[in-house]
Each structure stands twice: as C-alpha cells, then as structure tokens.
C-alpha cells in the first residue's frame, strides 16, 4: 500500500508541477507567472509533506513552515514589483 501511495502521489504532484511550469513558460504577463510560481511552490510543499507522510518521519516539518511563508512573501513582493513596473 505504501509503495502504491508513493507512486500515485509522485505522479499527481509531478503533473501539477509540470502544468505550473507550462504556465510560467507561456504566461502572457508577469502576474500569470506569479500565480503559477505560487502554485509551483505549493506543489513543492505538498511533495515534501507527502514524502514525510509516506516515510513516516517528522524531520522536514520545519521546511513546510518555511515554504508556506516563502510563497506568501515571494508573490507579494513580485506583485508589488509588477505594479511599480507598470506605472
């Protein structure tokens, strides 16, 4: 069951990250890329959490806290930069 769970989670999260990368590549404006980068970071957070859940260890839990704050700070600063670049 554990192996099956690991394979399914890997496939789903990799597909999410690939879709986000496609939007970063195609995205017409900087704001689309900010949204996609936010989703990419959240897929990373989900992958770290899924790895901890499958292998049943808690050593990477502080990384989850840092990642969830990093996504917020990153997208807010990029959006402010985008607003300044427009005006």
């Amino acid at each position: 069951m554990t192996v099956l769970l690991a394979v399914a989670l890997t496939v789903l999260l990799s597909a999410t990250a690939l879709l986000a990368l496609a939007r970063i590549y195609r995205g017409p404006s900087l704001l689309d890329r900010v949204v996609a980068a936010d989703l990419l970071l959240s897929a990373m957070l989900a992958a770290v959490g899924a790895e901890a859940a499958v292998n049943r260890h808690a050593t990477t839990l502080p990384v989850l806290v840092v990642l969830s704050l990093l996504g917020f700070v990153g997208s807010v600063s990029l959006v402010r930069f985008a607003v300044r670049a427009e005006s």
Partner: protein, 111 residues
C-alpha cells in the same frame, strides 16, 4: 482492522485527495483564459488541497508536537493565500489585464 490501520488508510485517502485537488488547480491554471480566473484556481483548490494533505500527514504521524507544527502551516496557508490573491487581483485590475467580456458585474467600475 486495528485503529492504527484505519487511521493509516484514512491518511492515505486524504493525501491522495489533496494531490488530486492540486492537479485540478494545475489544470485550471493552464486552461483558464484570464488572470483573475487563474488567480481563482490557484488559490482555492490549491489551499484546500494543501489542507487535505496536511490532514493526511497528521493522521499518519499521530504525535502531538508534530500536530502543532502542522496546524501552524495550515494557519499560515489560510491567512496568507487570501491576501496574496487579493493583491494579485488588484494589480491585474489596475493594470487593465481584465477581460471585460468575461465579467458579469464590475463592481469597481464607478470608482
């Protein structure tokens, strides 16, 4: 089945549901036509997916100290995602990247 096996299965189901919601967010991000639609899909299913995944992780770890840290991550997600989405939506509206033909009501039009 013992209690541990039942919580393990429930945790696995929650992990899979969270990953599927993340995939839904990714599909919406590629398929939707507008910045506002993409902001919507990258905020709501993504946050719910991360919350489900954290719940699955908590069901599989089952130690109180880890639970506290997971609750912290969930609170951060729930409090920061609306702020970031609001800033993205405001920046998109002010820089005129909103497709007016896709809007039913524009409540900011008179301001």
């Amino acid at each position: 089945m013992s209690v541990a096996a039942v919580t393990d299965w429930a945790g696995g189901v929650l992990l899979l549901a969270g990953a599927v919601l993340g995939l839904v967010a990714g599909i919406g991000l590629v398929r939707f036509p507008d910045v506002l639609d993409r902001m919507h899909t990258a905020t709501k299913p993504q946050v719910l997916g991360v919350l489900l995944l954290l719940a699955g992780l908590a069901l599989r770890l089952r130690t109180p100290s880890d639970l506290g840290m997971l609750v912290l991550v969930a609170i951060f997600q729930l409090s920061t995602a609306p702020v970031a989405a609001q800033m993205i939506g405001r920046a998109a509206y002010r820089s005129g990247r909103v497709d007016r033909s896709l809007l039913d009501v524009d409540e900011l039009a008179g301001r």
